[in-house]
């Protein structure tokens, strides 16, 4: 013992100079040289994967995040045929730079607008610019297309001429939106994704109550995901325990049943739930024919939250069963036996000895199911009806129908941020190294 504590000091005394190899080179350099070959080879082995991840994961996500704060609809126009980029709304942008927010748009402002409308007409970009303004103030697109059509005939005084076309050109909110849109970078899409907007003075305010959808959807998505996670846990725990305690031959057979859903198409599984659960479906028919339900009182289990809940719980169940099984299988039955022999009832033995050892599996399963549920799209789209839609369905809507990609990107970024936050929270509370996926 005393030898062991002395030796480092003794070493420092006797060997103050640098360690060298037999032929006098510094040991550190020799070591680096010896390892560099292996390190290079290891890097080359992971390089394809690294490139793949960069190309298919990091870049699209980066682009999405960029798009959520960047929109050129009101600043640049790109000609589809020639690819030529033209600056649009340059004059108005200059006026915005020279005048503060809240300045009453006077003749100069309208003159700038008129000049820009001429450019819009020339490059046929009125629709694009109008759409960009329309994202934040509905009804604006037609004003732009209409004004651009008559741009050539506008004459001073421009203010009167333009207001003549549409009274709405005086709306201070429109001018606030145009000011924001005249710069390519904006946080307004995030505000919109959180049901917020700016008033004419640039203060952040909630949008009209009947137009608040996103926060409610985020809440619903969060709530349903938590319920689904909890339900898969309740269902999966006994299954995993059974699988883990049965002899291997039998548990393998049952494992096939657990994995079977993985091998069928998601669409098939979802549509079969539709067959089962719709009001004229198998379950309702069975309940009616056995007299449990009256024919005019059929259960509404499809095209609402119940449908989303049932179908998604089923689809995500294997993701809970597998991590649980993988932590339960190696738990030696002698732990519970030891607890019992030490005087614990079977419930106490489960609670104090068995359950704590399965926590890493529960954490992994819950995290997996929750993250999958939060971003789920197809199943709620098919069986969710109006009130069973999740946030991803709205993201899809903005991607495919409204074509407001910036808003879709902002919503997706918020979702991503939320998940990362939960992941961080999980790491703080449970510890990520406490996670066992298989």
């Amino acid at each position: 013992m005393s030898d062991a504590t002395l030796s480092p000091a003794a070493m420092a005394d006797t060997m103050p100079e640098q360690l060298t190899t037999a032929d006098g080179k510094p040991l550190k350099q020799a070591l680096i040289r010896a390892q560099s070959h292996a390190r290079r080879r290891a890097f080359l082995l992971v390089a394809p994967l690294l490139a793949f991840i960069l190309l298919t994961f990091v870049m699209p996500i980066g682009q999405m995040l960029h798009r959520s704060v960047h929109n050129e609809g009101f600043t640049w126009h790109e000609d589809v045929a020639s690819g030529e980029r033209t600056r649009i709304m340059a004059n108005l942008s200059q006026w915005f730079d020279q005048n503060e927010l809240g300045t009453e748009p006077g003749e100069a402002a309208f003159a700038a607008l008129a000049a820009d409308l001429v450019v819009l007409r020339e490059v046929k970009a009125a629709g694009q610019a109008g759409t960009r303004i329309n994202y934040e103030r509905s009804g604006s697109r037609s004003m732009f297309t209409k004004a651009a059509r008559r741009a050539q005939r506008l004459e001073a005084p421009f203010k009167e001429a333009i207001v003549d076309l549409d009274e709405d050109w005086l709306d201070p909110d429109l001018w606030r939106v145009m000011r924001d849109a005249s710069s390519s970078y904006t946080a307004n899409f995030y505000l919109a994704a959180l049901d917020r907007t700016k008033d004419a003075d640039g203060n952040v305010t909630p949008v009209n109550e009947n137009r608040q959808v996103y926060v409610k959807l985020f809440q619903r998505t969060l709530f349903l995901s938590i319920v689904i996670t909890f339900m898969t846990f309740i269902l999966a725990y006994p299954i995993a325990h059974l699988l883990a305690t049965l002899p291997l031959a039998k548990s393998n057979l049952l494992m096939i049943l657990v994995l079977l859903p993985f091998w069928t198409s998601l669409l098939v599984r979802t549509t079969s739930w539709m067959v089962l659960l719709q009001s004229q479906g198998v379950v309702n028919d069975a309940l009616v024919s056995t007299g449990i339900l009256a024919d005019d009182n059929r259960l509404e289990m499809m095209y609402n939250q119940a449908g989303t809940l049932i179908a998604m719980t089923h689809i995500l169940l294997p993701f809970m069963v597998l991590p649980l099984y993988s932590v339960m299988r190696p738990i030696n039955p002698s732990y519970v036996r030891a607890a019992r022999s030490l005087g614990a009832t079977s419930w106490t033995a489960f609670r104090r000895v068995y359950f704590p050892q399965t926590v890493p599996g529960i954490g992994a399963g819950a995290l997996l199911v929750f993250i999958l549920a939060v971003g789920y799209y197809i199943t709620p789209a098919l069986v969710g009806g109006a009130d069973g839609q999740l946030i991803s369905n709205l993201i899809a809507f903005h991607m495919q129908n409204s074509l407001n990609w910036s808003l879709a990107a902002a919503l997706a970024a918020l979702l991503l941020g939320g998940i990362l936050l939960l992941y961080w929270l999980y790491d703080r509370l449970v510890g990520i190294d406490n996670l066992k996926l298989g």
Partner: protein, 366 residues
Amino acid sequence: MANSSRNNAFVEFERVQKSYDGENLVVKDLNLTLPRGEFLTMLGPSGSGKTTCLMMLAGFETATHGDIRLDGVSINHIPPHKRGIGMVFQNYALFPHMTIAENLSFPLEVRGMGKSEREQKVKRALDMVEMGAFGGRRPSQLSGGQQQRIALARALVFEPELVLMDEPLGALDKQLREKMQFEITRLAHNLGITTVYVTHDQTEALTMSDRVAVFNDGRIQQLAPPNELYEAPVNSFVAQFIGENNTMEGTIKEITGNQALVQLDDGEVIRCKPVNVYKPGERARVSIRPERVEYNKDRMQEGAHTIKAEVLEFIYMGDIFRTRLKVAGNEEFIIKTRNAPDQVRLQAGQQIEIGWMPEDCHALDA
């Protein structure tokens, strides 16, 4: 009188049978009584039913037939946690998510003991196994031997009267095993607890136990103190299983009282002590311990039975010499002699005469 015998029998197995599949009996008609304070070892090859017996006593298996009594009370229908039996498992079964102190405190906690009393008892139990400084560690941070001590302390901390141990030293290396053997017996005797110990290691059984029950094929073959087991095995299984033995096959020629004449298969007739052979003409297996055979004429005792032998191999083992001989056609005949200064070292090829006392030579069932 009945009362005192009841007191004597702390653990009782009465006509206990156990079957897992309804076709084969793993334990066949087990009868065993164990007085308070005894250290009993169940010894046997794997599959002989010894662990099943232990598990029935602990309450993790139910007897298919028969009665198991603890202190006079039938425990067949008492669940394990109410039996108050301490148990040490083969893999120690220390709860990995709890510290050592929490592991030890667990049996006290589930008994509803107060915090200060718990801490006191845990400390005393840790000191008892000389692990006082390890209370805050996790089981995975301890070596096998340390885990073993903790498992022992945990089984003893709630002061059970009966402790069961299922091959607790199986995973340790030889030196540590010998040290722990000593420590376990010392603790068991000091605390006056009754111990049932399961092992397949006969040395362990001999060195630790008050009595050893040798199991084979679901039955107790012999239940006796270690010396009796070694020196007077009741059948050839016990003779073979405990220690080393030289055996020769033959037929009984004559039996008179406690002497039998056995004609070996190569014609030689030798005098033996009959154990479980009863009439002439029966097949018999003659068995003699290697250390009871003498080849040094000066040391040979009066009345020894002598026989010619050829030295095949001499093995120097340090503390002893081990010599392989050819005796009466048996080429695996071993003798062991102490490495004393005046000991003759035999050489391969030598023709010698060996001898043994007839009472050391047992005629057993073939």
